[in-house]
Amino acid sequence: MALSAAMKSEAPSAEPAEKVVEVEDLHVKFVSKDATVHAVSGVSFDLHRGEVLCILGESGSGKSVTLRALMRLLPERRTRFSGRIRVAGHDIMTLNAAALSRVRGEVVSMIFQEPMTALDPVFTIGRQIAETVLRHENVTREDAYKRALELLELVQIPSAKRRLHAYPHELSGGLRQRAMIAIALSCRPAILLADEPTTALDATVQIQILLLLRQLQEDLGMGVIFVTHDLGVAGEIADRIAVMYAGRFVETGPVRGVMRDPLHPYTQGLMASTVHGHMKGQRLRTIEGAPPNLESLPDGCSFAPRCAHATDHCLVRPPAERHPSAGRMARCVLVDD
């Protein structure tokens, strides 16, 4: 059942796959009496069918907000959007509630970090999967449960038939995560959004879930956007990486390119400061300072205060996107176009 990594080619195939997600100049602000938080300040990207995009960033970078914006899962009252989001042809911003509800689950689905809070504790997982199916499709209850069983087997839950009637608290962390994936896939969405789904898992379980996700993505041909802060996870699963800092994508590109040859000083700093055993005995390289306050972003490049290569020019305005080669982007004046 396992497809080896060699079978997945990195270069875009001869006929370009269709775009399933198109985001153009997305801005997300949270307004409250105290302050306005600029969570996302101008993010644009595309996702093709069958592609895995990893949004890499630390806490406060805006990666989770970006993800939730794709499904409009942000608190309505406080959030101000601008920009365009098209998911499988639907314009997310302008959908009414009913249409949005249909899109969620049928077209795009999400899995979360903490399965214990994402699963309803008072219903069995079989019931939760079946409910999702019944909500979106016109099938009988029996068929819905049959589909639930299929899905549990798809996500490789052992003793699937028995587990249909298990409650979330009866399952271990890894199994719960698999159950959540089953629910997300129940209506065969074209796009799967994953918000740090393996962060809370043990190492031996994490690798199982990562491989499972990759497997499912290949078999079902889904587009996946995977948010993480872990470079190793990105290396294991991504086709393309987008590095996010203070609400903007500072670098994007194919996974090998970005990881072997990072262009943006932040990406370089991130790679250098990720701890490895073979750094033993040496002092770790760090990025000085801390991320900016999202309530008052500086005028220029948000990374400039911490950047070793910053010039006065960097403080004037945020750098535009530069494309040094096909498929690669970096927001830095030091990168040639």
Partner: protein, 355 residues
């Protein structure tokens, strides 16, 4: 020629005949699981089940393992935040709780703990300076001097006392809070510091800063660290020796280089190969272990790892493998029948070989 002393737990100590700073023997802690009509004890969580190891002065001992392995419980038992059911702890030659030995209060002057940065690792109602000064005042240091000490420590951990002393935890970032946690642990001038997932909750760039700080402080104050983490890379970086736990037992212990490059226990090997690779060309195709780590309630008989082990045989379910040394003059030990000549396991390597 180096003297090879035998430490009390059986492992050889390949240094000069220095006493270990901390010796732990047969530590055990079971938690009752209550249930039923009268809330009786229906089962037991065998969190820590016969753990023995030692820590040499000035070294960093890393402890790794997944959830349920008992590493955090072990640290709390050693700090006497939990009461052990059984076990002997010897600090610098003196038994803790023994008649002529150290009292628990005295132990706490010598051993301190740095907690994970949860929002509740610092008292939200106290300015951080007061939190740091609390420990010394408990041991009789007058309050003014304790405050002075707190300010010096703030400086030591890289936070200007005038700017940060009177702040509250919610006004600090995660990295800054961890620095306060470290300063608090150092306020009592301990010799041994337990670091329980001290950098796990931090962003990677901040983690590197705090690790640098920990290394500096160790140098400066002559500290000994017990570094508990689930992050194998960080443990590899900072530790001299590493101990691997599984379901309440020690499965492997030894110099970090040996354990990482020539792991002797199947679990250690699986754990190491579960690390996601940063190299996109070296992706895994099969997970090294299937299933989740079992709960420590009713662990498997014999070797606890046998339910997930590719090499499990009948002997493994009958007899619990003892922790035996083999490589590095006995400093590298593992608890696996495959490494025990004469155990009855079919894959036993001939006695004397470590590879």
């Amino acid at each position: 020629m180096e003297k090879v002393a035998i430490a009390p737990d059986g492992g050889a100590v390949a240094k000069s005949s220095a006493q270990p700073l901390l010796i732990v023997r047969n530590l055990r802690k079971y938690f009752p699981v209550k249930g039923g009509l009268l809330n009786r004890s229906v089962a037991q969580v065998k969190a820590v089940d016969g753990v023995s190891f030692h820590v040499m002065a000035g070294e960093v001992l890393g402890i790794v393992g997944e959830s349920g392995c008992g590493k955090s419980t072990t640290a709390r038992l050693l700090m006497h935040l939990l009461t052990a059911d059984e076990g002997e702890v010897i600090f610098d030659g003196l038994g803790v709780g023994a008649r002529d030995g150290l009292t628990v209060k005295e132990l706490r002057r010598n051993a301190q703990m740095v907690f994970q940065d949860s929002y509740a690792s610092l008292n939200p109602r106290l300015p951080v300076e007061d939190t740091i000064a609390f420990g010394p005042t408990v041991h009789g240091v007058p309050s003014a001097e304790a405050k002075q000490r707190a300010r010096r420590l703030l400086d030591d951990v890289g936070l200007a006392p005038e700017r940060f002393g009177r702040r509250y935890p919610h006004e600090l970032s995660g990295g800054q809070r961890q620095r306060i946690n470290i300063a608090r642990a150092l306020a009592l001038q301990p010799r041994l510091v337990f670091l329980d997932e001290a950098v796990s909750a931090l962003d990677k760039s901040v983690e590197a800063q705090v690790l640098n700080l920990l290394v500096d402080l160790k140098e400066e104050f002559n500290l000994t660290y017990v570094f508990i983490s689930h992050d194998l890379n960080v443990v590899h970086y900072i530790s001299d020796r590493v101990l691997v736990m599984y379901l309440g037992k020690v499965v492997e212990v030894g110099p970090v280089g040996s354990v990482y490059s020539r792991s002797a226990h199947p679990y250690t090997r699986a754990l190491l190969s579960s690390q996601p690779s940063m190299d996109p060309d070296r992706r895994k195709t099969e997970p090294p272990l299937s299933g989740d780590p079992p709960t420590p309630i009713n662990p498997p008989s014999g070797c606890r790892f046998r339910t997930r082990c590719a090499y499990a045989e009948e002997i493994c379910s009958r007899v619990e493998p003892p922790l035996l040394g083999f490589g590095d003059n006995g400093a590298h030990q593992s608890a696996c029948h495959m490494n025990n000549a004469g155990s009855g396991h079919s894959l036993t390597a001939p006695a004397g070989t470590a590879e």
